[in-house]
């Protein structure tokens, strides 16, 4: 009843009837004004689409603009770096030494065949049948791969170390302790790449310990190592040096003030040393890089004055001995024949140092270590006084000391009257001349690995009133090994101005500016 009434009422009035469109013509002749019955204007959808796209593109451009303006990394125009690297393809490393001993290729799919045990495999594969010779051969090979994955067998007499290490293919472990060494890292890596001893026989081991807040030694080390093992580290350094030169021409920093006072021949020597061309295998990756991280809780600072006060020397040397022992214990493997200990802050050193130290077949060998000084301080000075020959006075002095006292060289408190390797140096002498020593310094030591395997280490306790590298030399001598040094073969340490030196340089600067 209700609906019918409503419909009748709706169509009842004639006026209303006229409003509803009845024919198509009434749509198109403009009679009907109600907008909702009119089709949309032609083309407006396209404009809408175009406007949305236009808005998206505009947003994108604004975003890029904002990013560009807020970037704090200098957008460096790489085309400005005028370093042309001739094009090259990636070479695959084929030398056998990269893949021997614990780097053998063990295929997991073959090993996993034996997960249920060898008996189970044989029964499930072959049942009760006897294996054919071909199958037997394959089975033997796979079984030996399985055993190789967990069992290692070495004859330690094979790794005694020979003076002709390159021909004999002796593996060498290079150990470098690092602490707050971020700034010297490019220098260290340049020296490592410069080693002419075959890189496929060198295993690098770094120990990063007790870095101060805000130091990025570990992170830098990882980044540089990745580039090193790719073979692209020299390109990175070329670009870094180029950028430094560009920025240096604009401003001089306080750190480099002392360079003005160094002897110009030395500065020229340093520049020449790091310029290309380099030796043929400069970029070749090393056999492995092992980075160990361990904090020992050292509280002594790494600044020059902190390190050298005599009272803390004993404690400091024992802690350093402990750090060195940790590195050897973890990194040395049965197949290493030699171990080369190296400090990170060496400035000038020949690339053939390992072969030169090996050549005399001593069990421990060290070169002479000096450092350059400003010209007003005689331009050079022995740096490492820890390599010496024992004297009677020192032995008598040791008897008067406590069990825990550590004799350190170069301080008036301990008059030892020893002959130091450093003072035996003659700049024109024969670099192959050897001298027998009792104590050695730690800047650059080449030792046979069998010493470490026999128990010789860097004592972290007072051993015969010495610690660390000097006690290392003493212990080796006690166990019957030969310890030697090359007095005329010099390695140059970097020069870090002490507080007194800086004061002198500052006064000289002021005088120069007054003129």
């Amino acid at each position: 009843m209700g609906i019918l009434d409503r419909v009748n009422r709706a169509i009842g009035s004639k006026n209303k009837r006229n409003e509803f469109p009845t024919t198509n013509k009434e749509y198109t002749n403009g009679k009907i004004k109600d907008k909702k019955y009119l089709p949309k204007k032609k083309g407006s959808r396209t404009t809408k689409l175009l406007t949305t796209i236009g808005i998206i593109v505009a947003c994108f451009c604004v975003f890029r603009l904002v990013v560009f303006l807020t970037q704090d990394n200098a957008i460096f125009d790489h085309s400005k770096i005028n370093i042309k690297v001739p094009s090259y393809t990636t070479k695959s490393l084929e030398d056998a030494e990269y893949y021997d001993y614990d780097f053998e290729d063990i295929k997991p799919e073959i090993i996993s065949k034996f997960d249920q045990g060898v008996q189970h495999y044989l029964i499930s594969e072959f049942g009760d049948d006897v294996l054919t010779p071909k199958d037997n051969e394959r089975y033997e090979r796979e079984l030996s791969m399985l055993l190789d994955s967990t069992v290692e067998s070495y004859d330690l007499a094979d790794f005694r170390g020979s003076p002709k290490g390159t021909e004999h293919r002796d593996h060498i472990l290079v150990c470098i302790p690092l602490r707050d060494a971020e700034d010297v890292m490019p220098l260290m890596f340049k020296h490592l790449m410069n080693l002419t001893y075959p890189h496929e026989l060198i295993d690098l081991a770094f120990l990063v310990s007790d870095c101060s807040e805000g130091d990025h030694t570990l992170h830098a080390l990882l980044e540089y190592s990745k580039q090193l093992q790719n073979g692209t580290l020299s390109q990175v350094f070329a670009e870094m040096d180029y950028v430094k030169k560009q920025s240096k021409s604009k401003s001089a920093s306080a750190d480099d003030m002392h360079i003005k006072y160094m002897s110009p021949e030395y500065i020229a020597e340093v520049e020449r040393a790091f310029k290309p061309p380099f030796h043929a295998n400069y970029d070749k990756p090393f056999r492995s890089v092992q980075i160990f991280q361990k904090d020992f809780g050292q509280v002594i600072g790494q600044g020059f004055s902190d390190r050298h006060a005599v009272k803390v020397q004993g404690i400091r040397r024992k802690l350093m001995g402990r750090a060195r022992n940790w590195l050897t214990a973890n990194a040395i493997k049965p197949y290493h024949s030699w171990v080369y200990w190296r400090d990170a802050d060496v400035e000038l050193c020949p690339g053939s140092i390992i072969e030169d130290l090996m050549a005399k077949d001593y069990d421990i060998m060290v070169p002479n270590v000096w450092r350059p000084l400003p010209e007003f301080l005689d331009s050079e000075q022995p740096y490492d006084l820890n390599s010496w020959i024992e004297s009677q006075e020192a032995i008598k002095l040791a008897h008067t000391l406590d069990e825990d006292d550590v004799i350190v060289e170069g301080y008036a408190e301990y008059p030892t009257w020893r002959v130091h390797l450093a003072y035996l140096r003659n700049a024109e002498g024969d670099p192959k001349e050897v001298v027998d020593l009792d104590g050695v310094g730690g800047v650059s030591i080449l030792a046979k690995a069998k010493l470490f395997r026999s128990g010789v280490q860097f004592p972290a306790f007072t051993f015969e009133n010495h610690a660390e590298t000097e006690a290392f030399g003493k212990m080796a001598k006690k166990m019957g090994f030969r310890v030697g040094g090359l007095p005329h073969y010099t390695v140059w340490h970097i020069y870090e101005p002490s507080d007194d030196d800086l004061k002198q340089i500052a006064t000289k600067e002021r005088e120069a500016r007054r003129e």
């Binding site: 990636t90 830098a220 580039q227 093992q229 790719n230 890089v289 049965p334």
Partner: protein, 395 residues
Amino acid sequence: MGSLSLITYRIKKNPILTLLLPLIALCSIYFVVFRTDDSIIGIGSLPISGHKWAHEVENTWYFPYTSRFKMPRYSYKTQHNWLFNDRVEDIIPEGHIAHYDLNKLRSTSDAAVDKERVLILTPLQSFDQRYWNNILQLSYPRELIELGFIIPRTKTGEEALKQLEIAIKNVQSDKKNQRFAKVTILKQDSQSFDKLQEKERHALNVQKDRRAAMALARNELLFSTIGPHTSWVLWLDADIIETPITLIQDMTAHDKPVLAANVYQRYYDEDNKENAIRPYDFNNWQESDTGREIAAGMQPDEIIVEGYAEIATYRPLMAHYYNKNNPIGEEMMLDGVGGGCTLVKAEVHRDGAMFPSFPFYHLIETEGFAKMAKRLNYEVYGLPNYLVYHKEEFN
């Protein structure tokens, strides 16, 4: 399908779209997938086509002024297994780079739960099947045990090596969960001591040479096998044929830097016609005043050895402190230890404690090692009531 027809309808209606839509599509694909500049999508500085997983990407780039990508000059052949361990957080496989955080290495009293690796080291002069069975019976999880053996270059050594290799082959090709984590077999480089009959090898005058040779063998074995994942080192002689199966768990529970068990020997007592036990290892002792006096009067290169009437040191020997009524976990402090069954925390060895082959405070080999550990400020303990048994010797 419906949307496709809609699109075609729209394109038919507005021909400009035929030009615009493909252009827009291409541009967006290019920007998102291939452009290597600043992160558009926020994935990082790598395009999707070169995308790496989170653990492969470094957080920050260290060289701000150099071009970021350089083609590597050299590449290693694909390597599957490296350095015999599968701890992903340590290895950066490209370029043979490994990073070990030794600060995370711990030696706690809950060794098995904490998954600490134990290295069992044995200087092997002759292979005894009972010794091997004892090792196989240890209940400590095998994937946390590594074995190390060093064999002298003598005829008996060759025999022992053959038998050892057969035994190792059997266990390492067994089911995966039965295998030890790693086995290292070394042939000694230094000269070994040849006289092995019990009477001869225990004569006083040869002690210095014999123990010096043993010390060198132990050092060679130790420094060749200890690695960045080792938490404990258990020195077990090849003559120890019987230990409790929970040996490692029991000894690590004490959490001591150096801990020695009491080595006894089972024998058949002829007088009482019964099986009995008697002390065997007299190298576990505490220092006595007489001992110190004797040491003070000796030449620097002389050594004191225990158990000889010629050198009466009157030291309290742990071997005589065994009391079966006392608790089995009773500890006592020692000044010298023997190498029969001694558990050492790896950090003690890493700090430099080794077995001196030269007279060290008039001590040598394992006793010298205990003295060295004490000089490094570690404490040395023994378990007088915890027995392990040496094999019987009939000569």
